[in-house]
């Protein structure tokens, strides 16, 4: 599904250069559920942004779904984001003056679906996250957990092959976090590849595989099967 080799990313601000990623290599197979962990500032978000074609990278190679993306123009990247990738952000990033229906509608609009198709997908997606009855509500009328579910519905509505979630539970209490996690697991069971950044070791453990990032590099893989045997060590991945 996704193959990164020796990716590097440098942020240059006036005087400082930050190597957000260096020699970053990672492969994710179709249908996998990968949890990315690592300390703050280690480059997790940068990795997700690059993987999700939201940002360019400076060196290395990246194949997404078998396609080399380094030479795509902005328009082509937008199309791929729209059709193949669903994003879930820590801060929800719903559009405040659109109601739930219209928020979920956003990626579908750019996809060029017919009105009927959009309508069907929006309903299904919102029902799946349990908000089918609140389609006319504005995001501000919902709790944080509900908002994140709307964001998930928005990510799902276009039936992407890959979902990128950047600390999707970071702003939620543990109960809500678990609900969101269950949703993601359901989605994954239906075949969608999921890459999730998280700080929560318990949630990370529920993924197939953990990837630990440190100083812009993958330092450790923890296969799901092995995780059960090495709990102590996983606890470090905060």
């Amino acid at each position: 599904m996704l193959k990164m080799q020796n990716i590097s990313k440098v942020y240059r601000t006036d005087l400082v250069q930050t190597h957000a990623l260096r020699d970053f290599s990672l492969e994710v197979a179709e249908g996998e559920f990968v949890a990315v962990t690592g300390p703050s500032g280690s480059g997790k978000t940068t990795f997700l942004n690059i993987a999700g074609l939201l940002e360019d990278f400076d060196g290395g190679s990246y194949l997404l779904d078998g396609e080399d993306v380094s030479n795509l123009n902005d328009n082509q990247r937008s199309k791929i984001r729209n059709a193949k990738i669903g994003f879930i952000f820590q801060g929800f990033n719903l559009i405040p003056d659109l109601n739930l229906w219209d928020n979920v509608d956003v990626p579908l609009r750019y996809r060029g679906f017919s009105a009927a198709e959009r309508s069907k997908r929006i309903k299904e997606a919102l029902e799946m996250v349990g908000l089918g009855s609140r389609m006319k509500h504005l995001p501000s009328q919902l709790s944080g957990g509900q908002q994140q579910r709307v964001a998930i519905a928005r990510a799902l509505a276009g039936t992407p092959r890959l979902i990128m979630a950047d600390e999707p539970t970071g702003n939620l209490d543990s109960l809500m976090a678990r609900q969101v996690m269950e949703l993601l697991e359901n989605i994954n069971e239906q075949g969608t590849t999921i890459i999730m950044v998280t700080h929560d070791p318990e949630l990370a453990r529920r993924a197939h595989r953990n990837v630990h990032v440190m100083d812009g590099q993958v330092t450790d893989f923890t296969e799901f099967e092995r995780a059960a045997n090495k709990r102590e060590r996983d606890a470090l991945g905060g």
Partner: protein, 437 residues
């Protein structure tokens, strides 16, 4: 997608009522000022007989002062009007399809109805051809018969307004009216007719209302009416009687002909040239090469119907519109910057730069449209003021064409104002403004 963008524009306006309101106000004020001036200009520079512009000609012949041309700045032009002698001589030519000299008079109407006090009106003495030549529309009846142009017949054509006043708007053809103590029979009543500028006689104000009544010029010597137009004399001569004045070199008559073919036009030019040569040969002051055949458009230009001031004001108001637009650019930048988060999300979810650019421009156009509507209202008020100031009467100055121009200007202007801000905003990197909290 257009409808979707329009809905987004509405939402965005609702979300930012203050900024959006300021933008609309800026556009409205700019469009209001610009459209006011442009409408005045459009009104002044109109050609109310454009469909006959290639066949109608104002005629001038130069029998002016041998030592001095009529116009100092344009010595090649003959005087604006004709002498009575010249007008009568030109009227004898049978080359034109239609031909008519004409001038302003005043007359007092004494209505039969004793309740209505006598009142003064301006009238025009001319020929039967006047009405056909200028496509003057009739409500009732028509022009007087041709014979009234050759021998005295006391007949009159009334304007619609005066017919309303005298006969309550009824068909008055065949009825009698008393003007200056004499009875005239009505042969026709005009429809509403307000050519602006009043191209056929600009001497007493190019935007004056047309006359209230029309009499055959044939009656001039019989009636000896009070003339109310512009009279210009150069020659020291005794003018102490009606006869003396008519034989003088004073110019006071407008002359128009219709020449349908090139051949007619050429022959008429030759005729004017020959006429002037003949006048010079009998010892009259005449410049044989100085005759004029001006189309209505040329005539309005020669007579500087559109004041230079007006052109300057159009320019200034356009600059003002630009200042308003620069304000709008600033406001739009502010508004779009405030929306960077949303745009970032849309970009992340798959909107291309072009999608975002379009969305912003449609919003600008929409704001421009609303601003344009308000601007039209302001222009309406502005025109009312202008009308009072310049005393333009009759026809409305804001026609459909101008309203269309106003909307197009408003929308294009605000789209233009939006180009830079929209370009800025669509370059927002997709990941740049995503909220992390």
């Amino acid at each position: 997608m257009f409808a979707y963008y329009l809905r987004l524009a509405l939402l965005s306006i609702r979300r930012n009522p203050v900024l959006s309101g300021l933008m609309m106000a800026a556009i409205a004020v700019g469009i209001g000022a610009f459209m006011t001036m442009l409408s005045v200009h459009h009104f002044m520079s109109g050609n109310p007989i454009w469909w006959k512009n290639d066949v109608l000609y104002a005629v001038g012949v130069d029998t002016w002062n041998p030592n001095e041309t009529y116009y100092q700045s344009r010595p090649e032009l003959p005087p604006q009007q004709l002498t009575y002698r010249d007008a009568k001589a030109l009227q004898a030519s049978d080359i034109p399809t239609y031909k008519a000299y004409m001038f302003n008079v005043v007359g007092v109407f004494q209505p039969e109805n004793e309740e209505i006090a006598p009142f003064i009106e301006r009238g025009r003495m001319t020929f039967n051809d006047f009405f056909a030549m200028f496509d003057v529309p009739f409500e009732y009846g028509g022009a007087w018969g041709e014979q009234a142009d050759r021998r005295d017949e006391f007949v009159v054509v009334l304007s619609r307004e005066i017919n309303d006043k005298l006969f309550g708007g009824e068909n008055s053809v065949g009825k009698r009216v008393v003007i200056d103590g004499r009875e005239f029979m009505v042969t026709g009543v005009l429809k509403e007719w307000h050519p602006a500028p009043k191209f056929y006689d600009v001497t007493t104000g190019a935007f004056q209302e047309p006359e209230a009544f029309y009499l055959p010029a044939q009656l001039y010597e019989t009636l000896q009416p009070d003339r109310s137009g512009n009279t210009n004399c150069w020659k020291p001569e005794n003018l102490d009687s009606f006869q003396a004045f008519n034989n003088s070199e004073c110019t006071w008559i407008q002359y128009w002909v219709q020449l349908d073919t090139r051949e007619q036009q050429q022959r008429y030019a030759d005729f004017l040239h020959a006429y002037l040569q003949e006048q010079a040969s009998v010892g009259r002051s005449a410049r044989p090469d100085q005759y004029l055949m001006a189309t209505p458009e040329e005539w309005l230009e020669i007579n500087e119907v559109v004041a230079d001031d007006n052109r300057v004001l159009v320019g200034l108001s356009f600059l003002f519109l630009i200042v308003c637009l620069l304000n709008t650019v600033g406001l739009l930048l502010a508004k779009f910057l405030g929306r960077a988060g949303d745009i970032s999300v849309r970009r992340a979810l798959g909107a291309s730069r072009l999608d975002i650019f379009r969305q912003q421009l449609i919003e600008c156009g929409f704001i421009g449209l609303l601003g344009g509507i308000a601007g039209l209202g302001l222009a309406g008020v502005g025109l009312m003021v202008v009308r009072k100031m310049y005393r333009f009467e009759g026809s409305s100055m804001m026609d459909g064409e101008m309203i269309l121009v106003a909307f197009i200007t408003a929308v294009l202007a605000s789209i233009a104002a939006g180009l830079w801000p929209a370009w800025q905003i669509c370059r927002v990197p997709p990941a740049g403004y995503l909220k992390t909290q």
